[in-house]
């Protein structure tokens, strides 16, 4: 840090922005590519079933597959719109 730097307004470091973007991206990529092959399709079909009853958008449903020891946990999160 030089003296001149104290006068330049420093925003959040670009490295921390990169890290945050990567963490989100990698988590997302892993669900799609490392989970079983059926996961993306199942997500679509689950969404279709829920849509039969409730009007929701794609980003209101989250499907996560987590490895916990020897078991896999499938987590389904549906955000219901306020009615």
């Amino acid at each position: 840090m030089s003296l001149m730097d104290y006068f330049r307004k420093e925003q959040t470091s670009t490295a921390s922005i990169a890290k945050e973007r990567l963490q989100i991206l990698v988590a997302h990529d892993r669900v799609n590519s490392r989970g079983p092959d059926y996961l993306p399709k199942m997500q679509q079909e689950l969404l279709a079933v829920i849509r039969k009853y409730i009007a929701i958008s794609d980003d209101q449903v989250q499907v996560n597959l987590e490895q916990q020891g020897t078991a896999s946990v499938l987590e389904l999160n549906v955000m219901l719109p306020e009615s």
Partner: protein
Amino acid sequence: MAKIIVITSGKGGVGKTTTSAAFATGLALKGQKTVVIDFDVGLRNLDLVMGCERRVVYDFVNVIHKEANLKQALIKDKRLDNLYILPASQTRDKDALDKDAVEAVLDELAEDFDYIICDSPAGIETGAQMALYFAEEAIIVTNPEVSSVRDSDRILGILQSKSRLAEQGKRVKEHLLLTRYNPTRVAAGEMLSVDDVEEILAVPLLGVIPESQAVLKASNQGVPVIHDDDSDAGQAYDDAVARYLGDERPHRFLEANKKGFLKRVFGG
């Protein structure tokens, strides 16, 4: 029986071939009989980095097509007696490698060598998949940069699903090698740190190679950078090889050089 190690990254230009040349040379320098194979069919470059481009007569694809035997195609390193190079073909099409034929070549090499280093091409196509299929261990070469880290994560996924060990329900042992690291930029918050990349990829760190002028100088001359033991990159590769073979060595070149007083006050 030889140990098969793939040097891979997904993204191109991150230092796979530099690393393959340096790592194979490093193993040989430590007494291990080593062969390094260029899997980049059509874009052969390992021979240039190893400085044996004018001695290529037969190549990997010739051996696969039985136009030459392994003895004819293997090039002995000009500095080390226990280091050999199997160059890629320059002209054939990309799908020239098939799994069974590659396996036969690796089996034959395994009888004779301690280590087989597979220099993977970039991408996730046939060539890259062939390079990693038979690997027991993988060195993931990554730059502290978003696209490289993302591609490394993709390759890790492929390693643990499409390799032979994965098909047998086992895991390929992973090592992270961070290259082109610039501690000054990391300190300034302009570059992902070692800790950041380790945290995102969750792969044990084998070594950090600093961004170094020695790497270009070495490839200009066709001398693997690990021979340049005065250089930071050469020493960092030597550390990585020693660490791989079980030595405990602290990671170096992670801190920026301290600036002088005047530089600190006036910048620069």
